[in-house]
Amino acid sequence: MELFVFVCASVMVLVGALGVIFRKHPVHAALSLVLTLFGIAVLFVSQSAEFLAAVQVIVYAGAIVILFLFVIMLLGVDRAEDLKIEPLTGQRWIAGVVGIGMVGLLTAAVVSGSDALRLRGAGIASPVAGENADANIQQLANSIFSDYVFAFEITSVLLVVAVVGTVLLARRRTGKGIA
């Protein structure tokens, strides 16, 4: 059963990912990205990380891709792009090299960290019917708000800084300065 779910979800993820790259239309590419995100959510559920699955769908599929689509629609770039034009010379080569490098790094991380994953998973309780269905969420909350609270808060500060920076960059300057 678990293998079956894994294969189905992986096919979803891979087909979506390939779609993002090969569909010529930006909107279709964005929709393929949604398929990928759903596949990942299914994988999360099958690993009994339901909370992560829900957050995945709410944040990524529900907000970020919607934002992508929003921008695509508002800017009117929803026409198929001409792939012969290369806006930045050499960017495809560099992208290819960086992509291969990423694959290499991820593989190295998984190989060297597989032990750590197995050991850390030992003490983690999974939700059980009727007894403590919220175990998952409680454990997550504990590690976010006690063990890793500093990293968590720094990340939120980073987000706020990014928002403020974007607003400042996007503002029209009229020469009067800030009142």
């Binding site: 059963m1 909370f51 829900a54 599929a61 919220d134």
Partner: protein, 408 residues
């Protein structure tokens, strides 16, 4: 593995035929209930709006015009299904389903009945198996609804875009901006409910609301409910937030280019969503299938078994909300777009966040044994300072925009 998909006692142990049959029956029951409820809701809305406008409303098809929706549905089914030349065919065809399926999915986590009194906890026994009168009871419960309503945006958004014409596109851009903005307020007011009932599963939330004083509408202090109600109305794109289909400005809104069965799917999705949201509000704030109880005295409906009474209570409570929605539609004029955005971002989100902080501080104070009055005073002080800062930032930004020559 199976137990992960739905924390439901019927799915414990080995996979047998009877539990499977029960689940299939539940799916069927939820689907049919959803469809019939939608059909009746359309009739109810037309009839009540007609009554409020001193008209008669549908009265020809069936008794009291009850079958009017069915007749309309059959008519729509047999009309020609058009796909505009400039449309994106695949997305155009898939969009109605993206709008329609999520509404049914979010209906599946609502407890539709069962006996929640005393130690029963909403469990019923069917064919020798203990189960709940709800299709699925995932541990993430209400978050599932949020996720699903996030998906529902796609249907409307893609419908407008794929039509390949201006007005639907404008309607869908409005829709997506509105639904994404109000989802934040919706989520924050939900957080207050989760904080009070200490669980995310819908059945757990219902179990926690055993008497009138425990109902979340009282326990969270009314404000989250009001915010939830307003945000839900905006999520549903119902009046006074129906800018998505403002006829005077956008011809028909995102569904202008749709006809036949695809149009009816959008229509169905909208009304289905209204029913689901009302039922969800009842579940979250008004005790769902719990009977009205003051302390230990329960307002019992005589002659009916307790388990069926739950369904009856849920129906009655949901009906109140459906009536309120229709009432709002007949009464309130539509918002202007900038008013809508201001209301969502400047009033609803800050106030729901502030109220959530207040509730959290109370909870912490009670756990640590601090003086309640001091805790309340301190948190109110902090909120007042935050409010003043917020107001200050609004005045500064509006002054700047005025200096730059902007209209709003």
């Amino acid at each position: 593995m199976i137990s992960l998909l739905a924390i439901d006692p019927v799915l414990k142990g080995d996979l047998l035929w009877t539990p499977l049959l029960i689940v299939v029956l539940k799916v069927l029951a939820v689907f049919v209930t959803g469809l019939v409820a939608t059909m009746l809701m359309v009739w109810f809305e037309r009839k009540v709006v007609a009554g409020m406008g001193n008209r008669i409303g549908p009265n020809k098809a069936g008794p009291f015009g009850l079958l009017q929706t069915l007749a309309d549905g059959i008519k729509l089914f047999f009309k020609e299904d058009l796909v505009p030349d400039r449309a994106d065919p695949f997305v155009f065809k898939i969009a109605p389903f993206l709008a329609f399926v999520p509404e049914f999915l979010s209906f599946s986590i609502i407890p539709l009945g069962g006996d929640f009194r005393g130690e029963n906890g909403g469990l019923v026994t069917w064919f020798g198996h203990t189960t709940r009168v709800q299709l699925a009871d995932p541990s993430i419960g209400v978050l599932f609804t949020l996720a699903i309503s996030a998906i529902a945006v796609y249907g409307i958004m893609l419908a407008g875009w794929s039509s390949g014409s201006k007005y639907p596109l404008l309607g869908s851009v409005r829709a997506s901006a509105q639904m994404v903005s109000y989802e934040a307020a919706l989520g924050l007011s939900l957080a207050a409910v989760i904080l009070v009932s200490k669980t995310m599963s819908t059945s757990g939330i219902v179990i926690a609301q055993s008497s009138l004083g425990n109902w979340n509408v009282v326990a969270t202090g009314v404000v989250p409910f009001i915010i939830f109600f307003i945000a839900a109305t905006a999520e549903l794109n119902r009046p006074p937030f129906d800018l998505v289909e403002a006829e005077q400005e956008l011809v028909g809104g995102f569904n202008t280019e749709y006809s036949s069965i695809r149009f009816s799917l959008f229509y169905l999705a909208e009304f289905m969503n209204t029913v689901t949201m009302s039922a969800l509000m009842v579940t979250l704030f008004f005790g769902g299938p719990q009977p009205i109880a003051f302390g230990s005295t329960v307002l019992d409906i005589p002659l009916i078994p307790n388990a069926i009474e739950g369904t009856l209570w849920l129906f009655l409570k949901t009906l109140v909300f459906l009536y309120i929605y229709v009432w709002l539609r007949a009464t309130l004029p539509r918002f202007r777009y900038d008013q809508l955005m201001d209301f969502g971002w400047k009033i609803l989100i800050p106030s729901s966040l502030g109220w959530f902080m207040l509730l959290a501080a109370q909870r912490l104070g009670r756990n640590e044994g601090w003086n309640t009055i001091v805790v309340t005073g301190a948190s109110v002080l902090v909120l007042i300072v935050c409010y003043a800062l917020l107001q200050r930032s609004f005045t500064v930004s509006s002054k700047q925009r005025e200096a730059e020559g902007s209209m709003f």
